[in-house]
């Protein structure tokens, strides 16, 4: 049995959470061979790190597209999968993983379960468990055909070292002028990379996050000031980002970051499920909201009913 994992390349390096994915495959994989696929034009990537976290075989697909350009990735990975027929193929539930996986699944006409929080294997069958209905119901989904596919929510499992005896790299090159790559008809005019400061947010011990209850950019600046005082990092909800109160790279939740700090303080956050997804595994959650019935309190250990802005201001004094 073979479990293939999709490894992302960012800034010419192996993306951190991809290592979590390999380790998780190794952890649940029993006697399966754990392999990885990378599509890249990068030259100086250290692939040996994959072995450290549980990978035995790397399929390295060389491409001519630029590093940030992922338009061909799903088609090239599909070529590989048709060749090697893995039993299971898993990806991280990043925007890249969630864009590539459904294209591959529909091309192969196989099942795909999105954004899972648990994967198990029984009798070579993949059982993919995921929250639905805004986290109110868990569904365990299985596939009728191989490869059984799933995307795994980021930060579900932390990377872990394994003793692996051998590691091989199989280098591949496919014809890239294929008519079955419709996305190649689009053209990337510009790419503005995110600032990498958010990595600090993902590893932060304390996070102060703000929502629409903070109302203005000035209040967010006050929150940042307060965070500094407590050695905390600042984040925000999607709505706050959409309204320009805080930058996109500090967005916590779905389509943003998943964080797991020791202490998470939610200032004026109502607790929409898309935010909860990104912070619910924090160790201690403190919520401040003027509305006692706000859903955020259902995910909090400590609740403070009050005006978040006034609390920030009084703590700054």
């Amino acid at each position: 049995m073979e479990i293939l994992t999709y490894i992302q390349i960012e800034n010419g390096e192996i993306e951190e959470h991809s290592l979590d994915l390999i380790s998780y495959a190794r952890e649940i994989g029993n006697n399966a061979v754990i392999s990885s696929v990378i599509v890249t034009s990068g030259e100086n990537i250290d692939f040996s790190i994959l072995k450290k976290f549980g990978c035995e075989k790397l399929y390295l697909i060389k491409t001519e597209q630029k590093e940030f350009d992922k338009r061909k990735n799903s088609y090239l990975a599909t070529k590989l999968i048709k060749e090697i027929n893995p039993d299971i193929f898993i990806l991280n539930s990043t925007t890249e993983g969630r864009e590539i996986a459904p294209v591959i699944a529909s091309e192969l006409e196989v099942g795909l379960t999105a954004d899972c929080t648990k994967l198990e294997i029984a009798d070579n069958r993949l059982i993919s468990t995921r929250p639905t209905f805004g986290g109110k119901l868990m569904a365990s989904v299985m596939s009728k055909k191989n490869p059984q596919m799933a995307t795994l929510r980021v930060n579900t499992f932390k990377k872990k070292e394994f003793e692996i005896e051998k590691f091989e790299i199989v280098e591949l090159k496919y014809d890239e002028n294929l008519s079955d790559m419709p996305n190649v008809q689009t053209e990337i005019l510009e790419f503005i990379e995110n600032k990498k400061d958010f990595e600090n947010l993902e590893n932060a011990k304390i996070i102060f996050a703000g929502g629409m209850g903070l109302k203005t950019k000035e209040n967010f600046d006050k929150l940042k000031l307060l965070a500094k005082k407590f050695n905390a990092k600042t984040g925000g909800t999607r709505k706050a980002v959409d309204k320009g109160l805080i930058e996109k790279e500090f967005q916590i939740g779905q389509t943003g970051l998943t964080v797991t700090p020791e202490i998470y303080v939610a200032f004026g956050i109502s607790g929409a499920i898309h935010h909860i997804i990104g912070m619910e595994n924090s160790k201690k959650i403190i919520a401040i909201n003027s509305d006692r019935s706000a859903p955020i309190f259902q995910t909090a250990d400590i609740g403070i009913v009050g005006d978040a802005v006034k609390i920030i201001e009084s703590m700054l004094e």
Partner: protein
């Protein structure tokens, strides 16, 4: 420009109640239009205000009651609605849903330039159907779109916001675009919009009407199945306090 907006009626996830066996209690359940699909409708409306002779078709799959969401959507200056409703469609996963939509698009709607969808649906939240659909139609897909920079009859420039950064992408039509945010003020339909919406046609089509291969739709055409469902344990019990500083140490 001919636009198709794919929409989904969903149970209000704030409001869902369950039986002991984890079935939804349908009685008293409020159904809403998936909020991301409303963003897609608002984008279509915005395009219609800029490009002459734009026609917007709302396309949905669901039970007959899903025509409520189509009717609501029509109040946003959309032209007509199509509901794919047939018990043979039920139990469909994302791939079977995409195939059903594909049949209606190829066999009934036939001509289109732009297909808009919401990036996510709040109930299932798989965010897969639009990608499946684009791949089945063999046309490009652009996801996580938050803005249009340029709209022409046969060419668009859009802003796509992903984990690693922001992409400005140019595409020719036909194309599928999924919307993840809407930054302008959200239009609230007026009474007259609702009155006009009632005059517009909502076609209800069955599997025979769209000439679907019955092996490819509904539960039969779905490569995945739910093996079990269970309620998550509530991990936290909130204790209300007055002092934040004491809790930070």
């Amino acid at each position: 420009m001919k636009i198709i907006v794919c929409i989904k009626q969903i149970p209000d996830t704030k409001d869902v109640r369950w039986t002991k066996d984890n079935n939804i209690i349908r009685e008293g359940l409020i159904s809403i239009l998936n909020p991301y699909d409303l963003y897609a409708i608002l984008f279509a409306k915005k395009i219609k205000e800029q490009i002459k002779n734009t026609e917007i078709t709302l396309l949905s799959m669901g039970p007959n009651s899903a025509s409520d969401s189509i009717e609501y959507g029509l109040a946003f200056n959309c032209d007509r609605g199509i509901l794919l409703s047939d018990k043979r469609f039920s139990g469909a996963d994302t791939l079977a849903t995409a195939k059903t939509l594909k049949y209606a698009i190829l066999n009934n709607i036939k001509t289109y330039d732009l297909i808009l969808t919401g990036q996510f649906a709040l109930d299932g939240d798989t965010a897969q159907t639009s990608y499946n659909l684009a791949n089945l139609l063999k046309i490009p897909h652009i996801g996580y779109v938050q803005d249009f920079e340029e709209i022409k009859e046969n060419e668009l420039v859009v802003k796509s916001v992903k984990d690693n950064g922001i992409y400005k992408i140019k595409t020719k039509t036909p194309v599928v675009i999924s919307i993840s945010a809407f930054k302008d003020e959200i239009y609230i339909p007026k009474a007259i919009d609702y009155i006009n919406a009632q005059k517009k046609e909502i076609q209800i089509l069955s599997s025979a009407d769209i000439n679907a291969n019955l092996d490819e739709v509904g539960i039969k055409g779905s490569p995945t199945y739910v093996f079990k469902a269970f309620r998550p344990e509530n991990k936290r019990e909130c204790v209300f306090k007055n002092d934040l500083i004491g809790e930070l140490n």
